[in-house]
């Protein structure tokens, strides 16, 4: 810490005036970036990685998604599929159905929402592209058990909790950074 090479401070009055003027400029013309959240909410882009489900018709039960899932959120649960295409848990069995061919044993993925990190690796590893994405994002559950849906619950996407709010789309703007325009 020698005095040699120490820097000099600039003049004070101009700096103070400019700082105060800038503050005053934003006080008069505020450029608000926050969204008035539960009243307005963003309409997320179609490629947004939100809650997802699986297309039961397409899924072949290959377990690739279970293997690739980094947080080990996906579990393959055993299913029995009858010829009518209806899925039933193994315990109930499906062979009783009259006139049905012997049922096929298979597996289906179920996601534990408490573990899922929405990396969408399961989407990309799926050999038949069976996963269906949604842009539902703002959802939390009240009970621990709700984070682990059954297969039937998993097939239905959860309801968007901010469905009733005013949907806006963020648009980049030269003056304001982000402009929230009402969604069509």
């Amino acid at each position: 810490m020698s005095d040699k090479g120490k820097r000099k401070l600039r003049g004070n009055i101009e700096g103070n005036a400019r700082a105060l003027a800038t503050g005053f400029k934003y006080l008069v013309e505020p450029n608000r970036m926050t969204l008035d959240y539960p009243v307005e909410s963003m309409k997320l882009a179609p490629n947004y990685r939100g809650f997802f489900t699986v297309d039961d018709k397409k899924c072949i039960g290959c377990s690739m998604c279970e293997m690739v899932c980094p947080p080990e959120a996906i579990t393959m649960i055993p299913r029995v599929i009858s010829t009518t295409g209806y899925t039933l848990p193994v315990q109930q069995g499906a062979t009783q159905e009259a006139g049905a061919k012997p049922a096929k044993k298979t597996k289906r993925p179920v996601v534990n929402w408490g573990r899922c990190i929405y990396c969408y690796f399961c989407f990309d590893i799926c050999p038949v592209d069976a996963f269906v994405s949604s842009n539902i994002h703002d959802l939390a559950f009240y009970n621990d058990a709700d984070y682990r849906p059954s297969y039937e619950e998993y097939l239905k996407l959860p309801e968007d909790p901010v469905k009733k709010s005013k949907k806006v789309i963020p648009k980049p703007d030269i003056k304001r950074g982000i402009k929230y325009e009402p969604a069509p």
């Binding site: 820097r7 401070l9 700082a19 990396c119 969408y120 690796f121 050999p127 592209d129």
Partner: protein, 405 residues
């Protein structure tokens, strides 16, 4: 009240006994507004700091241990979560190391997209640093401004990758998503917005007399000392060393891109603030070049693409979304080792990966910039006043989880 009386034994690690009557030992953190997720032990003689010890490890996330017990592909989200303000760089560093072992070369367009994501990420990372520096000096305005201005860039990342922070954008062989339509226009207006905002940052923050008084000639590290202490990244360049991994060993598309490495002379806290703003300006320049020069072509290496099944190829043609070939699940690279170096927002990430032919990495080791800058912080704060401690701490842009890994 006797200040030297040890009423509570808070410390379990190391001695905190003050020496003599003049000394006080301050335990700043881990629950303190100015410490982050770590404990700074400061030995004070009056208002002067005589010794600083950083007690880290409060947010240790066992990233190396976890990654050594998982398939190679699963390490991507893990490394991202260590460097949350800087996810793309962590992802990129790991994938570069893995690609060397797998012997995959991504196509030029993927290289450009990687650089694009990395530069957007660098801007958000620097804004994060500037914002936290602001709150450490007591200016909540700059804190809010920087975090607000991060938002348009995060929106760009969301448009590109579908997620705001944890993008998981880069995979061996390329990137996962094509640049969406309309991205160039949106990026351009965001960049112009940021360029206009620099005037306000200058008036309100950089040239504010109080900021200058607090930062100029505080925490000075000259060139030789910076090299000796092993400083990396913007902090090194603020001390006048012309070193940038993007120039020293170019990765992604940086060989083809024309940019400058900003450098400062004094190495004080003020320079470490200025260099981040200069780097944002350079990043804006790089993004403009990338958007102009980006070549057409595939975003995934042919060797990966050829292993996709017909359904996946169809998906790629329709949605421009790269799916993973099945071997991503069961990657068993031959026994080899590789390193990768990436210039992240806070400095150079060094990555070492050793494989043994198994489906898990044999050794997974990385050194993050914040860890290297920590040694620097404990060394440089000595001799300054207590009020300079947050200024210096804020200016090195330290991110505790990144150092703890």
């Amino acid at each position: 009240m006797n200040l030297n009386e040890k009423v509570y034994d808070i410390s379990e690690v190391g001695s905190i006994e003050p020496e003599g009557d003049r000394e006080i030992v301050l335990q700043i953190g881990p629950a303190h507004p100015g410490s982050g997720h770590m404990r700074i032990k400061a030995w004070m003689d009056g208002d002067i700091i005589t010794k600083v010890d950083a007690d880290i490890g409060f947010v240790h996330r066992t990233s190396e241990w976890l990654s050594e017990r998982r398939q190679f592909i699963k390490a991507i989200p893990i490394v991202e979560r260590i460097m949350l303000p800087d996810t793309v760089h962590a992802n990129l560093a790991y994938v570069l190391a893995l690609e060397k072992i797998l012997d995959v070369e991504p196509p030029p367009r993927a290289q450009y997209l990687r650089s694009l994501a990395a530069e957007i990420n660098r801007i958000t990372s620097h804004l994060y640093g500037i914002g936290l520096f602001g709150i450490f000096l007591g200016s909540s305005t700059v804190y809010m401004w920087a975090f607000g201005d991060r938002e348009p860039f995060i929106d760009l990342m969301e448009m590109l990758t579908g997620a705001r922070i944890t993008n998981s954008y880069i995979v061996p062989g390329g990137v996962r998503w094509e640049m969406p339509k309309g991205f160039k226009e949106k990026a351009e207006s965001t960049l112009q917005y940021m360029e206009n905002r620099f005037n306000d940052y200058n008036d309100m923050w950089v040239k504010n007399p109080v900021v200058e008084a607090r930062t100029v000639n505080v925490g000075v590290v000259d060139r030789n000392r910076a090299i000796k202490l092993g400083v990396v990244g913007p902090n090194l360049r603020a001390s006048g060393v012309d070193y940038d991994t993007r120039k020293a060993s170019p990765y992604a598309a940086y060989k083809d891109i024309d940019f400058e490495v900003p450098r400062m002379d004094h190495g004080d806290t003020y320079d470490r603030l200025l260099i981040r703003i200069e780097e944002i300006k350079q990043s804006i320049r790089i993004i403009r070049q990338i958007l102009k020069d980006i070549p057409e072509g595939k975003i995934i290496a042919d060797s990966i693409y050829s292993q996709l099944n017909p359904v996946m190829k169809k998906v790629f043609e329709q949605q421009q979304r790269v799916m993973f070939p099945a071997f991503f699940n069961q990657m068993r690279p031959a026994s080899a080792e590789s390193i990768a170096r990436v210039e992240a927002g806070r400095g150079e990430i060094f990555f070492y990966l050793r494989t043994s032919g198994d489906k898990y990495p044999y050794r997974f080791r990385w050194v993050t910039p914040s860890f290297r800058n920590l040694a620097y912080f404990t060394d440089v704060a000595v001799g300054y006043k207590l009020a300079d401690l947050p200024a210096i701490y804020g200016s090195i842009d330290y991110f505790p989880p990144e150092a703890d890994r």
